[in-house]
């Protein structure tokens, strides 16, 4: 009995640092951010209780809706292409042979680079006058191209989507490869003996194995895209106008440029609710497909 109690005491002491850390660094700020979202509070200035005023202020802010639209546009444009190319790459590298291992490693490099680095070198590549992309477009079209990628409302978004695809397709490919590896070799050989078309094989045999890894990939990519920040921040800085300001960039601006702490807290919770909502819908839709 006595030893039991002592052990419990020791256990508690061992838990304590983690517990304190969690309470201080996660649970308290979380609750406090809800509290503060009900106040008109500019950092360092006095606080006025305004109920849901901050939430109203966010939802009537045209910049918020623009940021939400832009974030969703990036997700809707980038993720399907990432999944499509990811699957292609997975099939391409799912064979054995000399150099395949090396190629697999090379393919994964974009994913391992810090987003900051990616942002900077793509910024140079997209440069209108001396960027390599315009240079190649010039070679392809036969006359020099001066396309100003980041100063056109549509092109800026497309440039961001392209970089996102470049950065994150390897991640999808990695998960898809893992899915393909799970197919028993004999099953794959049996299919090779069948006359089935490529599409039939893909749909009935490969897709069931890819379904779960792709579900995971789409989910993670969706969550990631909802909080996309660094690459966009460096590539376009949100411009032109605010045509590439994403949700997190908008939240950053409200919180750390305007210092509207109360509104930023409300905004963060709205973003969190949107994310949870979208992800829940996504899980429903995708998992329904996989059981049908």
């Amino acid at each position: 009995m006595k030893a039991d109690r002592r052990e419990r005491g020791i256990r508690l002491i061992l838990y304590l640092p983690t517990l304190i850390f969690l309470i201080l660094m996660s649970i308290f700020p979380l609750i406090f951010s809800i509290y503060i979202s009900f106040f008109n509070y500019t950092l360092g200035q006095h606080m006025d209780f305004i109920g849901f005023g901050n939430y109203g202020s966010v939802l009537t802010d045209s910049s918020f809706w623009s940021a939400l639209r832009i974030t969703l546009e990036i997700a809707v444009l980038a993720i399907p292409i990432e999944v499509f190319i990811g699957i292609l790459i997975a099939f391409l590298f799912n064979t054995r042979g000399k150099g395949v291992e090396v190629c697999r490693m090379i393919i994964l490099i974009p994913m391992m680079l810090p987003p900051l680095v990616i942002g900077f070198f793509w910024k140079y590549m997209f440069d209108a006058t001396f960027g390599i992309i315009n240079y190649f477009l010039g070679l392809l079209s036969g006359n020099p191209q001066i396309i100003s990628w980041f100063t056109d409302v549509r092109l800026a978004l497309i440039a961001i989507v392209l970089v996102d695809i470049w950065e994150w397709t390897p991640f999808v490919a990695l998960l898809a490869m893992a899915g393909l590896q799970a197919i028993p070799p004999n099953v794959r050989e049996t299919v090779r003996l069948e006359k089935a078309s490529w599409w039939l094989r893909f749909r009935t045999l490969y897709l069931p194995y890819l379904r779960f890894p792709l579900l995971v990939a789409i989910l993670i990519r969706s969550i990631d895209t909802l909080k996309i920040f660094d690459v966009v921040y460096i590539l376009t800085g949100g411009g032109p106008g605010e045509e590439t300001v994403t949700l997190t960039m908008f939240a950053y601006r409200v919180g750390f440029n305007y210092f509207y702490t109360g509104k930023a807290a409300a905004l963060s919770w709205i973003i969190a609710l949107i994310s949870v909502g979208l992800i829940t819908i996504l899980i429903r839709v995708l998992s329904r497909k996989s059981t049908a």
């Binding site: 003996l193 006359k195 045999l205 069931p208």
Partner: protein, 368 residues
């Protein structure tokens, strides 16, 4: 339906030669068993026919067609794997119907074909189940059904029975054989199990080290093994082999080895003399071809029983003669006495069934 012809087939994995210059014809509508220990090249041969492995050299014909450069799917062959390889995400019906889909059949045609094959294979009750919900015997039948439903020119079986329990295996042996006869499909069956080979094969191809050792009916292979490998590999328990020197004393022939001196039956001795065979030689005799007596008779050799393994209707007896030990297999009724460990007994060789092999070439020596 078609015959399968191999011409100088060689399969290599890096530096390792798995199949070495094999030429062979699998006869049309016949059940051929490829038999050999693991690593002998039988599976590589099979995979080359299917197109799953690319041969280093040689030609493969199915019917009149050279198929070397054809995709597996263009060869009209079906294969059943040891692991069954059913499509796990499809139910039995869809597994069976999968290969019919590209054929642009109507729904009712597909249904009819599936029903037909499932009747043959007694799978009607399981059509809606998924592979994971089936026993291994049922999975096996689905795998065979899936291979047969599209009427392939050649059916390839890669150790399909090895994962079944003994009772099921016996059942399936008979079943597959019967099915093959009914459907008259050229079938190549790879196994390392010689009882399977004996029971099922119209012909047996014995392979070792990538080379064909012997081709023949089960009886031929059993009765006339062409070399020491086939002699030792076929038969259970395997043939007793004694290596020694032929000698002649007072008109009688003996095989003298380090361990023992065994008299050779006179008729055989005569043949040996006629064939002018002398010197170092290997004598082979199957356990079932040794006569055993509770007391000494003419030209018998004394031995001690050191182990008795009673079977249903026979004994497998380990005997020791000086330092040489060998096996005898006898019907309980034929034997006429109850062998006991430590008991002395006497044996002679069945002169009709005693083989001699060249020690150098390992080939069997044909006696006149």
């Amino acid at each position: 339906m078609a015959e399968v012809k191999l011409k100088n087939l060689t399969v290599k994995y890096g530096e390792v030669v798995a199949v070495n210059n094999v030429s062979l014809t699998f006869e049309d509508k016949k059940f051929t068993v490829m038999l050999g220990p693991s690593g002998c090249g039988k599976t590589s041969t099979l995979r080359s026919i299917a197109g799953l492995t690319r041969p280093a050299s040689g030609e493969i014909y199915i019917g009149e067609r050279l198929v070397n450069d054809l995709y597996p799917s263009e060869r009209n062959v079906a294969m059943v794997f040891q692991s069954y390889a059913l499509y796990p995400h499809m139910n039995v019906f869809d597994n069976l119907a999968f290969c019919l889909k590209p054929l642009k059949l109507t729904r009712s045609e597909i249904k009819e074909k599936v029903n037909q094959i499932s009747q043959t294979l007694h799978l009607e009750e399981f059509l809606n189940r998924y592979p994971a919900e089936l026993s291994s015997g049922q999975q096996q039948r689905v795998a065979i059904g899936r291979a047969l439903i599209r009427r392939p020119a050649v059916l390839l079986l890669d150790e399909p029975l090895s994962q079944l329990d003994a009772v099921l295996r016996e059942e399936m042996k008979v079943y597959i054989k019967k099915l093959q006869e009914e459907l008259a499909i050229t079938t190549i069956h790879v196994t390392h199990d010689q009882t399977e080979a004996q029971a099922m094969g119209d012909r047996i191809v014995v392979m070792d080290l990538g080379v064909i050792q012997q081709i023949g009916t089960p009886q031929e292979v059993y009765n006339n093994p062409v070399n020491l490998f086939v002699a030792g590999f076929i038969g259970n328990p395997s043939m007793n082999l004694i290596s020694g020197e032929l000698s002649r004393e007072e008109g009688k022939f003996f095989l003298v080895s380090k361990e023992v001196k065994i008299p050779i039956p006179p008729k055989l001795g005569k043949k040996l003399e006629k064939g002018n065979i002398t010197g170092e030689i290997v004598l082979g005799i199957r356990p079932e071809h040794i006569f055993l007596f509770p007391e000494a008779i003419q030209d018998s050799v004394e031995a001690e029983i050191i182990e008795v393994l009673p079977q249903n209707n026979e004994f497998i007896i380990d005997l020791s003669c000086d330092s040489f030990s060998f096996k005898v297999r006898k019907d309980k009724e034929v034997l006429g006495f109850h062998p006991q460990v430590g008991q002395k007994s006497w044996f002679t060789l069945n002169e009709e069934k005693t083989y001699f092999f060249d020690k150098e070439t390992t080939r069997r020596i044909e006696l006149p």
